[in-house]
């Protein structure tokens, strides 16, 4: 019943909270929220809230990229964020969210991973981004990608003792070099949702329950597309896909501005 109502609203170009179809809820980005992390950020989209924290650690490089640092993204759907989330191993949804955030960052080479080598071919920095949901009122994907990007911008490289082969710590705190992570690009992700023939952005939880299909599109600063993922059980035509891409570029600019 509620789903039907949500669909009716969207089809009439209106929304329960009075927003336009192409309007985001208020976006807030708070960097540096977690003292123990090398980089962190809390992002809110209306009532949706996620936190991203980055830990950096020395690791062996992957065989196919011996002179590049590593990027790992994980997402945890913490059950307090949504009564439908359950404790336990990662679900399909949380794996997808993390992998789509990962691809947005990786595919446009947002991190200059070649500058994250400690000992060539032996030791490189591994950048581990963990995204935790605090409150899910829809559109976790865009919030998560934005939080990951903000945390990357906030991230400072720790001091590393090559002799002792460990990160330098004082008591339990990692000593920072104060050097920011080398970044080359600022990708942001915008998910475009479809109900009937209408496309809209930043779905609230109850709108997500009523949708036909969605597509997440990561865009770069110069308006190119760098990762895409369709989701949901419905279809999208090529005309709708192109319209979604245009929308993602325009809305992406707004989100990028919120990064400050």
């Amino acid at each position: 019943m509620k789903n039907e109502y949500m669909r009716k609203l969207i089809l009439a170009d209106t929304r329960a909270d009075g927003r336009a179809l192409d309007e985001f809820r208020e976006v807030k980005v708070q960097k540096g929220a977690i003292k123990t992390a090398e980089g962190s950020a809390i992002v809110t989209l209306g009532n949706t809230k996620v936190v991203a924290g980055i830990k950096m650690d020395a690791a062996t490089p992957y065989p196919d990229t011996p002179n590049e640092g590593n990027l790992v993204v994980d997402a945890e759907f913490v059950p307090f964020a949504n009564p439908e989330f359950e404790p336990g191993p990662p679900t399909e949804e949380s794996v997808e969210l993390a992998r789509v955030v990962d691809r947005g960052i990786r595919e446009c080479h947002a991190i200059d991973t070649e500058k994250l080598v400690i000992v060539p071919k032996e030791l490189v920095w591994s950048v581990h981004i963990d995204i935790h949901t605090i409150n899910d009122d829809g559109n976790l994907q865009d919030a998560a990608a934005l939080a990951a990007m903000a945390a990357l911008q906030d991230c400072k490289i720790p001091k590393y003792d090559v002799e002792k082969k460990q990160v330098v710590k004082v008591e339990t705190f990692v000593v920072s070099t104060g050097k920011p992570l080398p970044l080359k690009e600022t990708p942001v992700e915008v998910t475009v949702f479809k109900i009937g023939g209408k496309l809209f952005v930043d779905a609230a939880d109850e709108e997500e329950d009523a949708l036909d299909a969605r597509i997440t599109i990561a865009t770069t600063e110069d308006g190119n597309l760098c990762a895409m993922q369709k989701g949901g059980n419905g279809i999208l035509t090529s005309e709708e896909l192109l319209r979604a891409a245009e929308l993602a570029v325009v809305k992406g600019k707004e989100l990028r501005a919120a990064l400050g």
């Binding site: 794996v95 997808e96 990786r106 080479h109 760098c226 369709k230 279809i235 999208l236």
Partner: protein, 243 residues
């Protein structure tokens, strides 16, 4: 940012490293009814990429608490055999296979009349026996044929292809070095060879113009795959009737 072992060029005089033209498929092979103990089954190959799919069910859903009162529960399982890649893969589910299983299920849920079998489970198992890129596309192509072979009521068949960008050129049916060292990989699936996209995943940087062009090429590619799938189904069932 070239990766170790990258060839100097992926396209030489308009031809790809395996000799194909830009818009040319690898040889496709499609066959249905290959696993007797499955309700329905199929293989689909793009060159060396070989996928096998089998359907079990609709069958009773256990545990009962997971039953859906008005429809069958569609469960898709994509696996890559450890011996399917040059370096042995880890057996079982990975984050990658979890995600692919999910997007494949979403794609297929568009065409299956799920409401015909309430309270049951419909399981589709896909196995990549040999991998040379475009494995999710081959798996989905095999799965949709296996469903048809199982006699599951469907609106139409889903067909899938990959489109890539290598050395600045747009290429159909990504393979080999194009997958490892190409700039872009776009996997799509459409319904009945038409303009209804039910799967889309893209990695790599493209402009809006390129996206438009790639969608067109992908759409036509899916229509070609669709014809192959239909031919394989017709071949199987025409033979049975004439006996």
């Amino acid at each position: 940012m070239a990766k170790a072992g990258a060839p100097e060029k992926l396209i030489i005089h308009g031809k790809r490293l395996d000799g194909r033209k830009l818009d040319e498929f690898r040889p496709m092979k499609a066959e249905v009814g290959v696993i007797p103990r499955s309700e329905g089954s199929a293989t689909f190959s793009f060159g060396e990429t070989k996928a096998l799919a089998g359907v079990q069910g609709p069958r009773p859903m256990h545990p009962k608490g997971l039953q859906e009162p008005t429809r069958t529960k569609l469960r898709c399982y994509y696996f890559m055999a450890p011996f399917a890649t040059s370096e042995r893969g880890r057996p079982g589910r990975s984050r990658r296979s979890t995600e692919i299983s999910m997007v494949v299920a979403e794609a297929l849920s568009n065409v299956i009349f799920l409401e015909d079998y309430p309270k049951t489970a419909l399981d589709i198992f896909m196995e990549i026996l040999q991998a040379n890129a475009s494995t999710r596309c081959a798996a989905l192509n095999a799965a949709s044929m296996a469903l048809a072979d199982a006699g599951i009521p469907m609106r139409d068949i889903v067909s899938s292809v990959s489109v890539g960008k290598a050395d600045g050129e747009i290429v159909l049916d990504v393979a080999g070095a194009e997958d490892n060292f190409g700039d872009v990989d776009l996997a799509v699936a459409t319904v009945g060879g038409g303009d209804a996209f039910v799967l889309l995943q893209m990695d790599g940087i493209i402009t809006m113009e390129e996206f438009k062009k790639m969608l067109e090429i992908a759409k036509h590619g899916c229509a070609t795959v669709y014809a192959q799938q239909k031919a394989a189904l017709m071949k199987r069932y025409t033979a049975e009737v004439s006996e």
